[in-house]
């Protein structure tokens, strides 16, 4: 007997199979065990956009194979834009992590909230969608990066940093006449690792690790 299950989709990360090419939003919810179906908002993730799927709305898997859905308990969808593309979401907040992921935004870019005067949305933050008007979110080349210096997070401008600048992040009262600072780095641009000595500069990136050890100058 041939396999009659021809179509699969993802609901909240789980793979669900169906042999119907066209099913309703209600059936998607039911196949995912969301009961009663009307208690849930169903969001379909598409190419750098997302939309709310109504209960009676038809989904054609021939047009959209490998569809991905997210469910939210509630009865309201929230609209916003990411890089000028329309989005809908089932909760009054969306995490920056979800925006990066579902909008396929490079992690080196930063997210900006247009309505709040280009406020940067922290990578571990969230956006509230329940307010007045439609939130407009954009991604842009980050002006700052977060690096680790002796195990502590430090936000620095995105540019080349000198040996002395890195040493000062670890020891704000660094004395370059008296002491020598041994600086090693890991997880740099293109996986760069090594050590940084007086007179050298290095490009920094998010998550780059610097360790600074002080010793006296010989």
């Amino acid at each position: 007997m041939p396999d009659v299950t021809n179509f699969t989709f993802k609901l909240d990360g789980r793979v669900v199979a169906t042999n119907d090419a066209i099913i309703s939003g209600r059936e998607v919810r039911a196949l995912g065990g969301l009961d009663p179906a009307s208690d849930y908002i169903l969001i379909q993730i598409a190419d750098r956009t997302s939309r709310s799927i109504g209960l009676e709305e038809a989904i054609d898997f021939r047009e959209m194979p490998h569809s991905e859905f997210l469910s939210f308990q509630g009865d309201r969808a929230f609209s916003f834009t990411v890089n000028e593309r329309g989005w809908e979401w089932g909760s009054a907040t969306i995490s920056a992590a979800d925006i990066y992921r579902y909008a396929s935004i490079d992690e080196d870019l930063e997210l900006i909230l247009d309505s709040a005067g280009d406020t940067v949305i922290p990578a571990d933050g969230a956006v509230t969608l329940g307010g007045q008007g439609v939130e407009r979110i954009r991604s842009r080349e980050a002006k700052t990066v977060v690096i680790k210096v002796n195990g502590r997070s430090r936000t620095v401008p995105r540019r080349k940093h000198s040996y002395r600048e890195i040493a000062l992040l670890a020891y704000p009262d660094a004395n370059f006449e008296k002491f020598k600072y041994t600086i090693t780095y890991l997880k740099g641009v293109h996986g760069a690792e090594g050590d940084l000595v007086e007179g050298e500069n290095i490009e920094v990136k998010n998550g780059m690790v610097f360790n600074v050890r002080r010793s006296d100058k010989s």
Partner: protein, 133 residues
């Protein structure tokens, strides 16, 4: 602040801004361990856990760090070994010993890596300098 004779190891992702005495903070993600100098002087000691710097081995009794902690530039001049969470106080190193250790560090970082018999000889020499001088 008092001198401590052992270090309790705490694994963290981010190292706190202020350290407690007698605690060795280890961040595997950041490849570093930090502690306040065991003599109680309040200076922060950074031991980067990368091949050219320090090695940290965790055992039931506590962490061991190698090579020794030589805070020659701190006013206290402390020198000790951390082994299974305990502080083993070592003598102050002479200027020649400190310089020999640093020359070896520089060789590791920038020079050609010694290979074969030369590497073994360098290692024996380093041990010799550390313990016997």
């Amino acid at each position: 602040m008092a001198r401590v004779d052992c270090l309790t190891t705490v694994f963290v992702e981010d190292i706190p801004e202020q350290l407690d005495d007698g605690v060795l903070y280890v961040s595997r993600q950041c490849h570093v361990a930090l502690h306040n100098c065991a003599c109680g002087c309040g200076e922060e000691v950074s031991t980067p856990l990368v091949p050219t710097e320090y090695d940290l081995v965790m055992e039931d009794e506590g962490a061991s760090i190698w090579p020794s902690i030589g805070n020659h530039d701190f006013p206290c001049g402390s020198h000790y070994i951390v082994k299974r969470g305990r502080i083993h106080w070592a003598g102050k190193m002479s200027r020649e010993q400190i310089e020999a250790g640093r020359a070896y560090d520089r060789l590791l970082k920038r020079g050609a890596q010694p290979k074969g018999l030369r590497a073994i000889l360098a290692w024996i020499k380093r041990l010799w300098i550390k313990f016997i001088g």
